[in-house]
């Protein structure tokens, strides 16, 4: 694929908000005028099985699936799913896991997906406002505040071991 396209793979377990996170990224990319495709496999996923979702954006995107070894970013919501999904990541790709944030300080455990979007957002060319608009549009109003907090926690955090070059690829 042309180097113009950014490939992101989200992975985790059913119920963790993997698809919500990939939806939000797709919306942010779409709102900023990019060509975007998002793909997911779900169906039997509500019962704790592995779930993953691909988001691709750029000038022109063809296949909706990120080819193995082509992901620029791999965002995994639980450490136990990292090994399953490592094949997606390209050599210089960035792995984002819950280790990137202080999980115990999350405003709510269910906002982990949004906090990791915050971590991812540091690498992508979209404004904080663009992210917050998409987050608010995708979540019920009563959880907006919690999730904005979670997003900012991920976004402002110092780069930690999880997204430093040492952990790449």
């Amino acid at each position: 694929m042309s180097s113009q396209v950014v490939n992101v793979v989200f992975a985790g377990l059913g119920g963790q908000g993997v698809l919500k996170a990939s939806n939000i990224l797709a919306q942010v990319a779409f709102a900023s005028g990019k060509a975007v495709k998002k793909s997911e496999l779900h169906g039997m996923s509500q019962r704790g099985g592995s779930v993953s979702s691909d988001v691709r954006f750029g000038e022109e995107v063809f296949s909706p699936m990120v080819p193995d070894g082509d992901a620029d970013y791999l965002v995994v919501l639980t450490l136990e799913e990292v090994e399953n999904n490592r094949r997606h990541l390209r050599r210089e790709g960035v792995l984002v896991t819950p280790e990137a944030i202080a999980v115990d300080n999350l405003p709510h455990p269910r906002s982990l997906n949004i906090a990791l979007l915050g971590v991812l957002s540091k690498h992508l060319p979209f404004s904080r406002e663009a992210w917050l608009t998409a987050i608010r549009a995708s979540l019920p109003e009563k959880v907006h505040e919690i999730n904005v907090k979670a997003f900012d926690m991920g976004r402002s955090g110092q780069p930690t071991s999880a997204d430093s070059p040492a952990m790449r690829g």
Binding site: S39, G43, P67
Partner: protein, 543 residues
């Protein structure tokens, strides 16, 4: 949203949007991944959307709407078309007055299905035109095209989608689509609609003439796209495989087909002649490959190993390179499990403890096959638990026959279990039989849809409700029991033991809402009592 607005939609949502923009009068279907979201979205957008008890009924309801001159949409997963095949084949003969679009959502790779059958074969077998979208924009455009073809030739049209098209979001540009020319109105056409042999024989001739006309039209149609490229390699493709092809072979010349039955064989032959080597890239069965070869064009297909599973960019590269070395199996992720507080758990613990031979069925509860329960012995298709269980009882030695239990979910029971009960009453095994209906108040497997046993419509409003106990008794089944497995697990085990020993025909209803649905169900009930007081609709789900 304005007409010209661009939106990010998955393929299912795009079909629903096109149906709304085209003034589709009725959308009906039965849930099934990956098709379910079409009707859910159609309903959200204000369309008249209904779940039918099963796909056969759905197709018949849609057919009636199309006989009446309306535009009708019917949706199902690939295996649903097996259930609906009977009306489909003869609807091809009768044709329609309005429009009938049949969406079949296939699941190559079996992300959530029991097989990976390729329903393109149905278009050929039934003799109905077929369109295959490659992304959401095409899902939108081809839905409108399907309606146009259906109305122009008075024929049902198959819209064949796949999981990656249904569940991938891509950008859709809406446009002003043609609205119905006239409102529905009855037109009598006895010879066209009543398929006694004397009228069916000419109807078959009419069908073949229509298909010949559509084939000629397809040759000229702008539906097929040819992308310029290097003559060294030509690729013929359809559906999402087209997207993988563009990425895997950016220099190739490509003929991308949208109307894949009847095929534009002249255009295909011209394309094949214009390139040095021509490869067909398609997911699933070698349908295009065989058809094109049968039309006399020299093309290469894919090696047999690529018939299995989905295609992707890497696999398309391998096909083009003729690479048949074994592929690395993808790492196995964590399989889905029954939720930790799922009411099905109690039931499977009992079945396992009592050493039952379990004739199983399809739904969340199929996961009872996995450890720690391993309490399912057969699972074939929806409704099969009844018939297969009875067959086992008829032939097994009595000591084994007495351990056989048919286990079926509530949605599956309404879908195709009721006729199995009729069979049980009509041809009772000498040891009796035990049917266990797992009534969790929803169609959980496919994402919590309503069905006729919940007493709520697709949009969760109160409507008529089938009471399983009354139904079983009215069929003459002597033992009918209802138990809450969550509050009375011992009672469930005791009743099961008694029923197995009785030698009678027994129906046990294990009733407890799915934990993911319970909150929603309470809310719908509250809304129903607040909103429709005095209308007399029964909406309670008795625990």
């Amino acid at each position: 949203m304005t007409r010209s607005e661009r939106c990010l939609l998955n393929g299912d949502e795009a079909v629903a949007q096109a149906a709304i923009d085209s003034g589709v009068a009725l959308g009906t279907g039965y849930p099934g991944t990956p098709s379910t979201e079409i009707l859910e979205r159609f309903n959200e957008l204000g369309g008249k959307a209904q779940w039918a008890p099963n796909e056969k009924v759905a197709l018949e309801v849609a057919l009636g709407a199309a006989y009446a001159g309306g535009r009708a949409l019917v949706t199902m997963k690939h295996v649903g078309l097996n259930v609906a095949a009977d009306p489909l084949f003869t609807a091809a003969y009768t044709g329609v007055t309005g429009a009938l679009v049949v969406v079949s959502a296939d699941d190559p790779g079996m992300a959530s299905s029991q097989n990976e059958q390729d329903n393109r074969r149905y278009a050929v077998a039934a003799g109905i035109p077929m369109l295959e979208p490659a992304d959401s924009q095409e899902a939108y455009d081809l839905t409108a095209e399907a309606i146009a073809i259906s109305e122009r030739w008075h024929i049902p049209v198959l819209m064949r989608m796949t999981t990656r098209v249904c569940h991938s979001q891509t950008i859709v540009q809406r446009r002003a689509l043609p609205r119905p020319a006239a409102p529905p109105s009855w037109q009598r056409d006895i010879q066209g609609r009543v398929m006694i042999p004397a009228y069916a024989r000419p109807a078959h001739g009419r069908l073949r003439r229509k298909l010949a006309e559509i084939a000629a039209w397809g040759e000229q149609s702008a539906l097929h796209r040819e992308l310029p490229g290097d003559d060294a390699l030509g690729i013929i493709t359809s559906g999402v495989a087209f997207m993988h092809v563009r990425e895997a072979a950016p220099k190739a010349r490509v003929l991308k087909l949208a109307l894949t039955y009847p095929l534009p064989t002249d255009a295909i032959r011209r394309f094949v002649d214009s390139v040095q080597r021509c490869v067909v890239i398609e997911e699933g069965d070698p349908y295009l490959h065989e058809s094109i070869r049968a039309a006399g064009a020299e093309v290469t297909g894919k090696p047999e190993m690529y018939r299995f599973g989905e295609l992707n960019v890497a696999r398309v590269r391998r096909i083009l390179a003729g690479d048949t070395t074994p592929e690395a199996p993808p790492p196995r992720g964590k399989p889905p499990q029954l939720c930790s507080a799922c009411p099905h758990r109690v039931t499977f613990a009992a079945l396992s403890k009592l050493g039952c031979i379990v004739s199983g069925d399809i739904g969340c509860y199929t996961l009872g096959v996995l450890p720690p329960f391993e309490a399912m012995d057969t699972c074939v298709c929806m409704g099969a638990s009844l018939g297969v269980g009875l067959g086992l009882r008829h032939v097994l030695p009595p000591d084994q026959a007495r351990r056989v239990v048919s286990v079926i979910g509530d949605s599956t029971f309404v879908h195709s279990g009721i006729t199995g009960l009729a069979e049980m009453v009509y041809n009772p095994p000498s040891t009796g039989h035990v049917v266990l209906i797992l009534d969790n108040g929803t169609t959980a497997m496919t994402g919590l849809q309503e069905h006729p046993g919940t007493g709520r419509t697709l949009g969760h409003e109160a409507t008529g409700k089938i009471v399983f106990e009354d139904l079983a008794r009215s069929l003459g089944i002597p033992r009918v029991h209802t138990i809450d497995p969550a509050t009375d697990p011992a009672g469930l085990e005791r009743t099961l033991t008694e029923c197995l020993a009785s030698g009678d025909l027994c129906v046990i209803i294990a009733r407890r809402p799915c934990i993911l649905a319970a909150g929603h169900i309470k809310q719908y009930e509250r809304q129903a009592t607040a909103g429709s007081r005095g209308e007399g609709c029964k909406t309670e789900v008795t625990p």
